[in-house]
Amino acid sequence: MTVRIAILTLISVLVLGGLFVLLRPNPKETSPGKRSFDLEISEDGMSPTQISIREGDRVTLNVTTDSPVEMHVHGYDLEKEVEPGETTEISFEADLTGRFPIEDHDTETELGALVVEPR
């Protein structure tokens, strides 16, 4: 019985380990970089709706809007008043991974999301 358990465990570990190595994509060798996005806020939300970056990137958002907005990035808890007719710059380092909704605090509506993939 003990021998059988040992053999079964060994086979499981080998097969599962092998499968893991086989399926896992090669970690990208790229090092964290500078990323910059132009965001337009309108009645329909944010364009682009989603900002996708990787952990560790230095991000700059250049935000323009057609009406005053109090922009809030959840998780990172960034908050900024954005006025029409000017470009508001928001910079941060992407040290949290996950999907963080971006919201207009004045109207409590969701504009879009910031997606930070683990590196």
Partner: protein
């Protein structure tokens, strides 16, 4: 609840006849907000492949095995003086009960009189995050603390003692016999209502609603207890006692009464073996101290005992399994587009639409589960021969519990780790009246406590582990019920196929992007 809350943001409407309180959507940092990323495709496939492979390993483990695992090793914690002096001391037990009632009263008071913003009020975080998510995890992984400290039971006992002291004959002891045919149907009906509030009702995070609903549920419970007797209602009508009792079968601890007359006249235990009763809290409370055991045991063995598996109980377990899945399913793109197309065919009725389709789903998904489950059990029965359908359905239902629990844990542990932190500032200022009782009023939750990669790996690991335990349990059950080993193994094929299906569904939901 998360989904219900999102819907709250989508349908800021007048509350209809239910008008318990204003259903103002969660503000600022939404209550129940999570930042999880969907599990990547390759990891989803890896989890699914592992589940299938390991199912064969469990098969291999059982080949040639003649006997079903019978007893299991136990270690009575009350044998150690230190543990006996703490865990079994009247002071500890009384303290736990008073603490539990205190929390219950605080939930009601903060719900009624505190700030009505969900994240700034004690009640929503305490009920949904700490009690519901945290409590379920605790009961499953440690032991049935709900049975020991259920505040509704404690309050009832106090009231009972008071009426006796006031000279009322028999106190709150009833003389109405509980109708046998009711079985655990009242508990299932109430659990359905709870699941509806959690998953469908958009006002589930509003403090005042929580207080009202908790009071409503308490009244039903106290009425049930005073009509039919405390223990009868706890075993058949009190949804959470029935629910936590099923989860506690997984727990690595049990309460056991050996010898003595405590179990006599108890309809819940001693059916097969008159001398022993396990996890019957009424008997445990009545037993003499020398007959009580608080045992450590291997996890999940409690799910092997299949006594008391009536039709109603099978229905309860299947509803439990499916409501967990429904919770996750609600936020998947597939489900959302299904509801959209239903709305375009059958029509949308404004604010009521989400309630209608949500309720429809909460009925349809469990029925689908039940049909699927019954079909697979029929196949097992046909291949294995012997045992009756409902007995088989009952014992296999318990063996599916680890998969449901693993999904629940994978789905919610990040909520407990992030939103659970809110309890630190809420404990200091439960009403949002500017108090700072413990000096933690200014605590700022750390959203970065777990990274996405860690979450992915632990989710998949949890689900695969739950699957392996479930397959193991199902095998052990089959060995007990089938006439011989060969038939037992053969009868297992459909059940393992069902388990793979259930597990892969869980993994698939975790790999889906969450729809806002």
């Amino acid at each position: 609840m998360n989904v219900a809350l999102r819907r709250a943001a989508a349908f800021p409407v007048v509350v209809l006849w239910l008008s318990l309180a204003d259903a103002r959507p969660a503000l600022a940092h939404g209550f129940g907000q999570r930042y999880d990323l969907p599990v990547p495709l390759w990891l989803y496939l890896y989890g699914a492949a592992s589940a299938v492979l390991l199912s064969f390993v469990v098969f291999g483990f059982f080949i040639g095995e003649k006997n079903a695992p019978g007893g299991y090793p136990r270690l009575n914690l009350l044998r150690f003086r230190l543990l006996r002096a703490t865990l079994a001391s009247p002071v500890f037990v009384a303290g736990l009960r008073i603490f539990s009632v205190g929390i219950f009263v605080l939930i009601i008071l903060t719900g009624l009189f505190g700030d009505q913003t969900p994240v700034l009020n004690f009640a929503p975080t305490m009920v949904w995050v700490i009690w519901w998510v945290g409590g379920s995890l605790f009961v499953t992984l440690v032991g049935n603390v709900w049975a020991a400290a259920n505040p509704l039971k404690v309050v009832f006992e106090w009231a009972d003692r008071l009426t006796l002291r006031l000279g009322v004959e028999n106190g709150l002891d009833p003389d109405i016999p509980y109708p046998v045919s009711w079985d655990v149907w009242p508990a299932l009906a109430l659990f359905f209502a709870f699941a509806w509030v959690e998953l469908v009702f958009w006002g589930s995070a509003t403090p005042r609603n929580i207080a009202f609903l908790a009071l409503l549920y308490s009244s039903v419970t106290w009425a049930g207890m005073s009509f039919f007797g405390k223990e009868t209602w706890l075993r058949r009508g009190e949804a959470f006692s029935v629910f936590f009792d099923i989860l506690a079968r997984f727990a690595p601890t049990e309460v056991r009464v050996t010898g003595g007359a405590a179990c006599e006249g108890c309809d819940a235990c001693g059916i097969e073996n008159k001398d022993v009763c396990v996890n019957c809290y009424g008997c445990f409370a009545r037993a003499m101290p020398e007959h009580r055991e608080l045992n450590l045991r291997p996890p999940a063995v409690g799910l092997l005992s299949s006594e008391g598996t009536s039709v109603a109980r099978v229905a309860f377990i299947v509803f439990m399994l499916s409501s967990v899945t429904y919770d996750g399913l609600l936020a998947t793109p597939v489900w959302v587009s299904l509801i959209f197309s239903l709305q375009s065919i059958a029509g949308s009725f404004g604010a009521l639409s989400s309630l209608f389709y949500g309720t429809l789903g909460l009925l349809a998904v469990p029925l689908l589960f039940f049909a699927l489950y019954a079909g697979f059990v029929k196949l097992c029965q046909a291949l294995g021969g012997g045992t009756g359908f409902w007995k088989l359905a009952g014992s296999f239902a318990y063996s599916l519990v680890p998969i449901a629990f693993a999904y629940q844990a994978a789905h919610y542990f990040t909520l407990l780790l992030t939103d659970g932190q809110n309890i630190f500032y809420l404990a200091s200022d439960p009403f949002r009246w500017g108090w700072n009782l413990f000096g933690t009023g200014g605590y700022e939750p750390n959203a970065a406590i777990v990274g996405a990669a860690f979450v992915w790996y632990s989710q998949v690991a949890l689900i695969v582990a739950g699957h392996v335990i479930a397959v193991y349990l199902a095998h052990a059950v089959a060995l007990r019920s089938a006439p011989n080993t060969k038939l037992a193994l053969r009868s297992q094929i459909p059940m393992v196929a069902l388990m793979v299906l259930y597990t892969v569904t869980s993994l698939w939901i975790l790999s889906q992007p969450v729809v806002e």
